[in-house]
Symmetry: D2
């Protein structure tokens, strides 16, 4: 059980914080720094950050090779993420890197790529109340969370949410305006684990909410737990028989 620390890269588009005063007030150093601060407080996690405008979006081959779990927040600049970086992230997820996709990352290139669907949803920005209910309390991502998390002001994300059925549906949200949403969903893809968590609109202080931070921390540990597997990265492999085959007659 003395395992190495889980190496986390907290990725943020980091644009709203530069152009929108209201967002900067909530996240003066960018929302990645608030998320990273929470994770840095955990002894078993080793944390770095990366943002869109860095060289190769801060996600070089080396950087990803040394990342066990990548968290992703993007919104206004999804299209600026370069396709070859998306290819690289996908390959690393399939090799075992965890991927935590937050809020508006639902239509990021990487999430759509991993899902195979549009990931479209209904939405509305009206500062309304969201209540995030636990529906799979046995899941470690829900550890320490009560029956629900209440967020007084949130952007509404509603069904139908065009995703593959999750392997585990952990949270379902209620919205004041009348909608529901599958707000916490987990999947395995290749050797990697993916978790989508919808709370997080940039104009409300969602990532200052302790329960939201607990869920993200739990998710990082859950996704990082998959990075130890002994199975090699996938390849289409021609393989010798393990048993003696009978003589054939195919004439």
């Amino acid at each position: 059980m003395e395992r190495d620390a889980i190496r986390v890269t907290v990725w943020n588009e980091f644009r709203h914080e530069k152009v929108d005063e209201a967002v900067r007030k909530i996240y003066p150093d960018g929302m990645h720094e608030v998320i990273a601060a929470q994770l840095r407080a955990q002894k078993d996690l080793q944390v770095r950050t990366a943002t869109l405008d860095e060289h190769e979006h801060g996600l070089t081959e080396n950087a990803l090779a040394e990342t066990d779990v990548l968290t992703w927040w993007g919104h206004m600049a999804h299209e600026e993420v370069r396709d070859e970086i998306v290819d690289r992230i996908q390959a690393r997820v399939l090799e075992g890197m965890g991927l935590i996709v937050l809020h508006s990352g639902h239509v990021s290139k990487i999430f759509q790529r991993m899902m195979g669907t549009t990931c479209y949803l209904r939405w509305r920005e009206a500062a309304e109340k969201e209540r995030v209910w636990v529906v799979k309390p046995s899941h470690p991502i829900a550890a320490g969370i009560g029956p629900y998390i209440e967020l007084p002001n949130q952007e509404m994300y509603g069904e139908h949410f065009d995703i593959p059925d999750p392997d585990d549906l952990i949270f379902v949200s209620w919205f004041e305006g009348g909608e529901v949403f599958r707000s916490g969903c987990a999947w395995a893809r290749g050797l990697g684990r993916i978790f989508y968590f919808s709370p997080g609109h940039e104009t409300y202080p969602i990532y200052h909410n302790p329960d939201v931070l607990t869920v993200i921390t739990n998710a990082v540990r859950w996704a990082g737990a998959a990075a130890n597997t002994a199975v090699l990265p996938f390849q289409a492999a021609e393989t010798e028989p393990l048993e003696k085959l009978s003589p054939k007659s195919l004439q």
Copy 2:
């Protein structure tokens, strides 16, 4: 229950049959014609075929718009399938078209696109025995099939198979050489339904096997059943609240 016929397009790469005498002996008119003949014998199905070398691979906008279920067999020319046609097929699946992917279609562009994974697997061509076991007998795709289907000579496809967990795992195969394989897997994606079925190597008369044909026929009906839904194709939709929102104070 008086519904319109399910409109099926049987797609085949149709190359092996032109260049390989052994394959032509088994499928003189192409394997699509053998599959189509089986489906044409069903009163509730309306069947056409399409192949790679036709205009737009036989999959024009119109052709796809009039297809409820598309079956797919490809192998040596996956790379020749044009990306814009793959985009088009993906969009139609998400709108509700069924997709039945056969055998070596596991690494077709469209299947990898829908899955988000490599879909790689172990393989071996040694004419060995495969026994396809039913593991979800309540599923309509298994209707009429006994405990297993035995195929005396097959290409081996073995685990690990790099796919998302299926919504329904219906068949698991045993191979003489010592491997197992999740050989019949069903998923929903968007409004569409996808079924992968691994039997079908071109050098063995797999698509002349009555049980294999029954499974394909069942799968077409199962996937076609989803094409009637009243929900519109997906769009990212900003939406008015259904309930009256409380006054907010976000200053």
Copy 3:
């Protein structure tokens, strides 16, 4: 496709209607008669009813043997259902009979038996609004239903709902009082298919709602589709090897 009609038994506890004037006003002949009338209007269904106070609750060996799908509504008299009848229903489900459990049937003996969990939930009777959202629109049980069904007055059933993860989660409900609920859930058990649908409190005219009736009709067809399988009922079976075993040395 010319299959025999699906034989449905609509089961009702039929007690509230006898003792509660408000319920009798909504369902003068019992709610089973309203559900049965809907199903009798379908050409492919053959319908009978059964109630708690009949001999063997109307569920004799013969009656169940001739039932492809059983719908179940109970509430105030769950404990009066005899255990040997519950055993009999369970055995028939495992043999392939469909089971549609409605509303307060969530704590019926048969549903708890099939699930292995308490099936407990939060509840409140306050005539509040429920909005039943479609979350798996590709599923045939959702056919013909729009984005949601709105029920102006319903008993609240809320999470956490102590059930096994459904094979398919088709509906999730929003409640005016702030809760969400997995209101339409499908499972396979043995050769049979089970669907739970929560709308249906006896003091509101829920089973007069056309969308609710459509869902029940769809569910009966979906569950009835499993009744044709060729696999025999289960038995623990010692079995001869299908392949020649190698000589062993276990000394």
Copy 4:
């Protein structure tokens, strides 16, 4: 992450070892002692054993209250397990205790109770080869295991295996005699986690195999991870609205 040790109770029927010389040679102190020795070597686990012939089968209220994960091996005396003890175990699983069911425990009262199905399967005792393939390599229960585990002599357990679809299918076995089997299956039930693992016939030294012991150790940690949840044990709970309800008109 400084969490308390996971408290494990290794339960064994402990009858074969007393009456069958061949079994005693392999497991002189009972197979529970071999499993317990492996688990005792882990710093994060605290281990005790219990057997059928102890008072209350060694599973008193107190003993279970202090158990985070229970492992179960039984075969010849399933019927002697008292029903009130089965009730007690079920209640503890739903409260969050993990349950690891081994081999012939597939028809134990507690496993059938949790599953709701017969759990029947095909079987044959012929000392044949089993190869346990990993099909979900991202799952922590597969950590440290290569593509497969090979067991030279095993009892055959084959499909169809009458269980609910697992939440996670982790292992699928190949048998020399021609069958396949879903040999490693995980479910959540209530707040608890259940893992079934089929290797383990008493007349072969299966629990001396290092890979088999690794899987059991992984499974104990995985199931124990669920025991920390903050959600209270389930109860059917009438509950006040979280939102103000609108005035109703139900006249």
